[in-house]
Subunit: 694 residues, 2 copies
């Protein structure tokens, strides 16, 4: 049985990676277009490579230090010796996911633009293939990492199940740390460039987006790749792996057998197969409308979700036994919740519905009212997702037997997260093609291609916004569920340490250490959002000044007679974002240890609960406010409230600019933060049990 | 002993009220100025009266319905028969506090303006006297309500201590409901008028603030009175009373004797005397500088705080016995924490320090960056207050013997809140004179008084902003501590109900009902902030349209030849704010009952903890972001970054406008929300225990 399982997950991983490779070969075969397009694409690729190279240098130093710290702790007996190595592989694979995604994205942007010269469907084909490469690389590498470690620990070192999961949780910390670097660094880069380019280009100089006269335009496109692609890849790698291993760990705690640990890995492996089948359904006839395109994408994701929902039932029955078959509904609840949160996101941020339409109307009375309006749309939009997650948690807990054994209930919550992410291969594919289309649009504009090409890339981009809403629903929902599961894993971990049980005996919410931990934890997402927004603000200001300088000093630039110095803006963003990404990451790692040392293990649990609740709310608030502003602006650009160039449009542009760091830097980073906090707490649990003050 | 105590609190109440009456007589004796000033003041007073009259009509209906509901529950045996009546008196005295404050404020605004014609110190004298009337009315009525009920329940109905506190907690719910109506209604009124007036007057038409040509200018001044004065009066009445009665209730729970219950009432009574002495120290020599004025105010508040800190020590020793004298440090921790939170508020929002200076600098790169900057200043500013409250909670818990008995520890937390608010009489006086000075400035402008008068009122107003920061620190800090104390009271209450103990046995934070309650509770402040901001937005938009209409249709208005139709704007604001205040209040009352019915008592405790944590953070975030924007704008007006009229200034005005509902509507209302949730939970505990699903 153990061997069969290892083979199955290896097969899942291999299938995903082979599929990704096949898709990648397909993409490369497309023509990269005219020489000018190739030149622009080359500049973007160079910029992105240069950024990643420098980012990885810093990351290597960080991982070196952490490896030494963990190594020292392992030598001191506070950790098992596998931990430092597991930490490294988690970081490595997470970085690799981002790297592969970015490679394929920078190859396919110009190819998508070129394909759009022939037609919308050709463009979709290239962009979606690129997205698939990304999606299946993430799940493939995730499964590979999990199955590799499982194989080593189980068959080479012959460890017990709880020792295996304990070590595997550590590569979650590696993956989370890397993801945070990638998300924060990339997020700051992309938004500093975007905000900087918009503020001077669109608002002050009045030139269109992606205009080649704007010196920050290449940096903006580089940013899409290092932020929206490499950042997202590392992020979702971490979500995927985190949800699976926390479910494995809780399965061992609940059933103390191998089968409960195997279930999440098997669901993930089967999810890969379902997702691959799903991608074959994504095709459209020539001349398809926007709506038909969307339908074609949904057909793929819905098919995968339905198949996994059907297949999981006998799987659970077979693996956990007939007395536990109701655990199936936890997986099912997770699947449904992901979809529902996505729909709620779409409702609040799409201009087909009232909230964004009303938001656009507030621009009639000026900039202040559209800012107030967007903030309140974002805040109000937290209600539905909270209720969905609440119901999902309750259902998964009780169908898994939580009424009899809380550890079985917690296993159910973790499985809900696994269920939600089981079709990640295809949902990520439909999500990741958005930035590719965005980039393609930039290249079309800069290369001076026919207007119809830009229209087609815009259509793809706008479609991407809708699928991105669903993607975000999955990312945020799974983050909350995974964070809760990790909190439970933390408690298990502490209980398994000598002297730990008494330290964590009183988790009553009125225990002042729990309560204070809760307050501090709830505060962290606020502080984290502030730090990352400040970083974007600072970095954007330096871009603004540089663009203004070039407009003033480079003669003939505005007339199109001289070329802008694109590289200096790329360089500025690179330096600024790498400098700015360090503090937030250090905070995320230092705080759980500090809280543990001062308040003890019960304080840490309080902190994790507080951070999960407020982090979930802040992430939804910031993402949705940003999305609503973005689409309110696009809605106005479609011709209402005076259309492009009107005073309403100017107000909406300010709203969109405020929303940029909200939705693309701080919001997504908070998702990672709440999981990293748990991962760090788990790894340092031994230290805290032995040395805490309270 | 019991009789002595009753007499002492009655004496405290009487002293406060007599002192307020004496001060009021003094204020009335000052001359109200020229006929034009009197006319303007009359218009403001009329508007404010009309608003309050209509507000009270709605409030009476609400209280009637609630009285019927509570009466029915009392008849059904779910409540004691005193509850409906206690509920009414709480509401009545809270409303009365607001009413008296507003009366004196609308009488003294023109008198302050007139006194400023003679000199700055004369102006300060009138304004501070008006503030004192407000401050001492609030504490006087609060103590009166408490001592009256204590007298009735103890000596007429001869109830046991725990029955007394149980009934007295209910008038907290009456006071909280009233406070929420006043804060939300008044907050929407004042900000709708302010935002509306600014958006069209300052931003579009380019006329100065308080210009008589602006049709919303009277409404703006009415708003200061109904929002910043009547709203604040009801709000702080509720804080004051809530902290005292929750401490009484926890004292009974912890010590099961009368003395522990008496202590908070005695501290409050002594606080009144100390505050009165403090006010005598507030005087300055002619020609005092701004700094000297501030010093004179601080001398008064510091003196009162030091005296109460000294006197409390023997008091605690005498009342609780020498084995419990360390409880004193809880009171002391509360006093210190209030001051520290105030200082942190000042650091983040005053233009003497880096955060606001840096924020002003972000206006150099446009409106979007100052918005992003302000949001992140607000979010970052949550860290210090959280740490201060955390330390205060830990200290008060452990010095009060929390390590041995958690109910003694919780009593300590409640006493910290009482300590923090013990000098409310004088802190509120230094806080409440701000809106009076603000109004005086408006009258000076509209009546065309000499420029030097406006300069003096501006100096007073700006001084008021600094003292308001301290006031806010007390309000927010005490709200968090009181909410925690009320959460503890709720648990006691449930335990005292038949069948309640088992319903609340598992308050472990990993219990899914607690966890889900936590998520829902944490979401409430976001939803509440969204609702109130939307209300302001909607109301402001109608004001904007009306002002634009008048500018267009009333010929000669801009040239000063025709008069604006002020009454229509006042009427608009009145209707809009009263319509908008209902939903948030109903939400705040319905949600705890609904959560209780679905999730049971443990879910309610989770909800209260979540709402307190996230509410505290949101209140600090929103208040400080708003304060920072406000002062960044004033800093720019002082001449930096291009000064008044520059593009930086325009951006800063947008920031200030966004900050208006943040700091004056949503932020303060959240303070009340978190306490009202607990109060409602306590009152409906019997219902929930008997009828909850989970």
């Amino acid at each position: 049985m153990e061997k069969l399982l290892t083979i199955l997950t290896f097969v899942g991983a291999a299938l995903a990676l082979v599929f990704a490779a096949v898709k990648a070969r397909k993409v490369i075969k497309f023509s990269p277009g005219t020489e000018k397009m190739r030149k622009i694409s080359y500049a973007i690729r160079e910029g992105a490579n240069a950024y990643l190279k420098r980012q990885y240098k810093i990351v290597v130093i960080f991982f070196g230090i952490m490896f030494a710290v963990l190594g020292a702790m392992a030598i001191a007996g506070l950790l098992t010796p596998y931990v430092p190595f597991a930490f490294l592989t988690g970081g490595f694979f997470s970085a690799l996911s981002g790297f592969v995604g970015m490679k394929i994205a920078t190859i396919s942007n110009t190819r998508t633009a070129n394909a759009c010269r022939e037609g919308l469907n050709n463009g979709l084909k290239v962009a979606f293939s690129a997205g698939s490469v990304m999606g299946f690389t993430v799940v493939g590498l995730g499964l590979l990492d999990i199955s590799l470690w499982f194989f080593i620990l189980k068959f080479i070192f012959k460890l017990e199940p709880h020792e295996i999961t304990s070590a595997m949780l550590t590569f979650g910390m590696g993956a989370s740390s890397m993801a945070l670097f990638a998300r924060v660094g990339g997020g700051i880069f992309t938004k500093a460039a975007d905000v900087g380019a918009d503020l001077v280009g669109k608002v002050e100089a009045g030139i269109p987006e992606d205009d080649p006269r704007n010196p920050a335009v290449i940096a903006d496109n580089v940013g899409d790749n290092v932020g929206d692609v490499a950042g997202m890849g590392a992020d979702l790698y971490e979500s995927y792996v985190g949800s699976i291993i926390s479910a494995c760990a809780l399965g061992v705690a609940a059933f103390n057998n191998f089968n409960a640990m195997a279930l999440p890995m098997l669901i993930a492996a089967i999810g890969v197969v379902c997702s691959i089948f799903g991608t074959f359904l994504v095709k459209t006839k020539e001349g398809a409308t926007q709506k038909e395109l969307l339908k074609s994408l949904s057909r793929g994701t819905n098919f995968s979700a339905i198949v996994i929902a059907i297949v999981s039932l006998p799987l659970v029955y077979f693996i956990l036994g007939k007395e536990n078959w109701t655990v199936y509904f936890a997986i099912f609840a997770g699947l449904i919740s992901g979809v529902l949160i996505g729909q709620s996101t779409e409702y609040f941020t799409s201009d087909s519905y009232k909230p964004t339409k009303n938001l656009a109307a507030t621009s009639e009375t000026g900039t202040a009212t559209i800012i107030i309006g967007g903030l309140s749309v974002g805040m109000l939009s937290t209600l539905l997702p909270i209720i969905i997650v609440a119901v999902c948690v309750l259902v998964s807990y009780f169908v898994s037997g939580g009424a009899h054994s809380s550890s079985m209930g917690l296993y159910g919550i973790a499985l809900a997260a696994v269920g939600m992410l089981s079709t990640l291969g295809i949902t990520l594919a439909t999500d990741a093609y958005g930035p590719v289309a965005d980039n393609a649009g930039g290249i079309a504009e800069m290369a001076g291609l026919d207007k119809s090409v830009r229209e087609r890339t815009d259509a793809l981009d706008s479609l991407g916004n809708t699928t991105a809403a669903t993607g975000k629903g999955f990312a945020i929902g799974s983050a909350a569920l995974t964070a809760l599961a990790l909190m439970a894993s933390y408690i298990d971990k502490v209980n398994s340490i000598e002297g730990g049980a008494e330290k964590i005996a009183n988790l009553n919410i009125t225990n002042p250490t729990v309560l204070i931990g809760l307050f501090i934890g709830a505060c962290l997402p606020f502080v984290f959002a502030a730090l990352t927004m400040n970083s974007v603000g600072r970095a954007a200001q330096s871009v603004v000044k540089e663009v203004r300088r070039q407009f003033k000093e480079i003669k003939g630039l505005m007339e199109g007679k001289a070329e802008a110095d694109y590289a200096s803006c790329v360089d500025l963003c690179t330096k600024a974002s790498l400098r700015e990404m360090i503090l937030p990451t250090v905070v995320a790692i230092a705080v759980p240890v500090a809280v543990g040392i001062v308040l003890g293990c019960s304080g840490v649990v309080g902190m994790l609960a507080g951070a999960t609740a407020s982090g979930f709310l802040m992430a939804v608030f910031m993402s949705n406010a940003g999305g609503a502003w973005d689409n309110a602006k696009k809605y106005i650009e479609s011709g209402v409230h005076g259309g492009k160039g009107s005073s309403c449009h100017k107000s909406a542009v300010v709203g969109d600019t405020v929303g940029d760091p909200f939705k693309d830097t701080s919001g997504p980073a908070i998702n990672i933060l709440i999981k990293l906090l748990s991962m760090v707490s788990i790894v340092f649990a031994g230290l805290v049990v032995n040395f805490s003050i309270l």
